[in-house]
Amino acid sequence: MSPHQFDIQLVAIIVAASCAIPGAFLVLRRMSMMTDAISHSILLGIILAFFLVGDLSSPFLIIGAAASGVLAISLIEAVNRARLVKKDASIGIVFPFLFSVAVILLSKYARNVHIDTHSVLLGEIAFAPFNRLILSGMDLGPTSAYVMGSILLLNLLFISFFYKELKVSTFDESFASSIGFRPRLIHYLLMAVVSLTCVGAFDAVGSILVIALIVIPPCCAYLLTDSLFRMILLSVVFGISAAVSGFWVANWLDVNIAGSMAFVCGVFFLAVFLLAPQRGFFGIMREKRRQRMDFAEASLLVSLYNQERGEAVKNHPDSRGMFRSADFASKVVEFLKQKGEIAVAGGKLFLTEKGRERVRTTVEGR
């Protein structure tokens, strides 16, 4: 691994971690598509900042650009207040407009700044190592690592400081306001943090693919845990691993790094979606199958139990008739025989003592 590659990965890791942290809350608050709006809208702020000063290294400019994200959110909420515009439509008309204005400014006047419509979409993390922080002759590493590192620190401070406020207002907004937290304020603070993160990540991954780093790692984590704290932790782990493996995939195929990170995020999610123990696709299927079998077994046992006690319905001399197919019936019988809960004699089914016991505990609740 060359020092160049090391630097790129360092920046990628910091970016991925800072995106995953607020992302967890966005996913839980069902506001993932707000990321779409913010990440498009901040472009205008970024470009105006570039026009003013020529680069984005000053913290004031970063904050200014981030303000454009919060502004976009307020604009969306204002449009939404008009009676006839639904929430999704108000998102859908605000950010393409801001983004279009930004792209026009960019292609018309961007001769003297070093961003163009390509870097907007593709990011330029490959160039991150070239811009270095040099203090009194000492090379301290890529500047963007420091910029993004500060944003990561800020995100960490934000969630540790407001952890319970965020948690309560995410899961029960009315309860949050009733105990004196201010959910609206928390909402705007979170939006500000997301905007800031998007601005910081813009250099690395461009303005669209940042959505992948914000939304996908928390989604992976969401399918693996029920604890908020663990979800945030897992999101960061997923984000970092996707960033690093995305980098190596891009390196191997010689393609765009940000795009490849987004794609690897997608692959990670696919794996989790299919394989997560309880909430994965196969896990749910297995659980459904287990429940179906459980229910079938219980039904058969109960039916036999009732026959023993003379309560059987006359039309069902053989309890096996209740199943949808003879195949399924013999499967159920086979399972129960293995468990020793029924016995077969002369083609007829009988409960064993163990079977009777199960009926009593599961059905009659004794």
Partner: protein, 374 residues
């Protein structure tokens, strides 16, 4: 400007391009109405971004920039994205918004990966795939416009044929289901129509902004009418006008990409409508303020009248301070009194004293016939 317009419309190439932009506008305006009414605006956004990998893959397979394969590729990958969203939301606890965010970014990311991969390929004719990102109407030729026209006509035909079914789907799918229509197939059909609108907009507006071409005209039209038919027609009109204006702007000035130019036009109309239509933001504010003024005026009239009754003379004069006593804080009594004076219902007598005129007394009786004996 006029010269420029004349030149634009007399030039054959320009006419072709403008025709393309206008037909694209009509189709996306009509089809977008359904996306907006079904609260699926953002699905359009996802689909248009998700078309990118399909475009590049089609190019990689066919090897030339033929329209038709690229259209098909784009449509397939957009539909695949919708399928993935449904699969994920139906089989896990992931919510729709997250599934959309994931589909959008993963498909778009894959598209960019493929794009950078293709751009490294030795054959140089891949140049121009870029135009699908932000659109480049100048590259439209007669054949493209023909394809846009045919695809668009097909989409419009479907909308026309299934007019009432689509209406049911938008406003009351449960009722539609009980009537025996298959809402699932209608849903699929609407999606197909939306995808075809997206696909034909790719060359002019580009994948990044195409969704707005669907949403903004419909939002604008919705503000002015509550009738489905007029909404669809108005939306088509708005989109066609903005399409033509945007393309003309982009062609007339240097370095303005077509997609953003079109979107700025269409968004401007949408914002104007949201603010100033009869149901718009400002109009409602204005109406509110007016009715609040009316209520205050009525209150002052009634107060003057009732206070006067204590003296057995409804026209008895009272001071402004007395009137202000019984009212809420921040209630500018003088403003209401002055307005009433202009209307001729009250008159000022001496310093700060006001009394009802004859027509004022008549007006109060109209106001509160029930409180006479109060």
């Amino acid at each position: 400007m006029l010269e420029f317009a004349v030149e634009l419309f007399s030039d054959y190439t320009a006419r072709t391009i403008l025709l393309g932009a206008a037909s694209l506008g009509v189709v996306s305006g009509v089809v977008g109405s359904y996306a907006v009414l079904r609260k699926q605006s953002l699905v359009g956004d996802v689909m248009s971004h998700a078309a990118l990998p399909g475009i590049v893959l089609a190019f990689m397979i066919v090897g030339v920039k033929e329209q038709l394969p690229i259209f098909i590729g784009a449509a397939l990958s957009a539909v695949l994205a919708v399928f993935v969203i449904n699969l994920v939301t139906e089989n896990s606890r992931i919510k729709t918004d997250s599934a959309m965010g994931m589909a959008l970014s993963v498909f778009f990311g894959l598209g960019l990966v493929l794009l950078t991969y293709v751009q490294r390929m030795p054959e140089a004719n891949q140049a121009g795939l870029d135009k699908f990102l932000f659109g480049q109407a100048e590259a439209l030729v007669e054949k493209d416009v023909l394809i846009i026209g045919v695809t668009g006509l097909f989409a419009l035909l479907v909308v026309g044929l299934f007019w009432k079914e689509f209406k049911l789907l938008c406003f009351d799918p449960d009722f539609g289901g009980t009537m025996g229509f298959s809402m699932k197939s209608l849903d699929l059909l609407v999606t197909a129509v939306i995808v075809s609108a997206i696909v034909i907009g790719l060359q002019t507006v580009g994948v990044v902004l195409m969704s707005s071409m669907l949403i903004a005209p419909a939002v604008a039209a919705r503000q002015w009418t509550g009738n489905m038919g007029s909404m669809v027609i108005l939306s088509a009109l708005v989109a066609a006008v903005s399409g033509v204006t945007g393309v003309a702007l982009s062609a007339g000035f240097e370095n303005i990409p077509t997609g953003p130019a079109v979107i700025v036009c269409v968004s401007a109309i949408a914002f104007f409508s949201v603010l100033f239509s009869p149901n718009g933001f400002f109009t409602l504010r204005f109406k509110d303020a007016r009715s609040r003024r009316e209520i205050k005026k009525d209150y002052v009239l009634k107060a003057l009248h009732d206070l006067g009754l204590e003296h057995d003379d409804p026209g008895y004069a009272h001071s402004e301070r007395l009137l202000a006593l019984g009212s809420e804080k921040g209630f500018n009594v003088r403003k209401s009194l002055l307005a009433l004076q202009t209307a001729g219902y009250v008159e000022s007598v001496g310093e700060d004293n006001w009394r009802l005129t004859q027509s004022g007394i008549y007006e109060v009786k109209k106001l509160s016939p029930l409180e006479k004996n109060g």
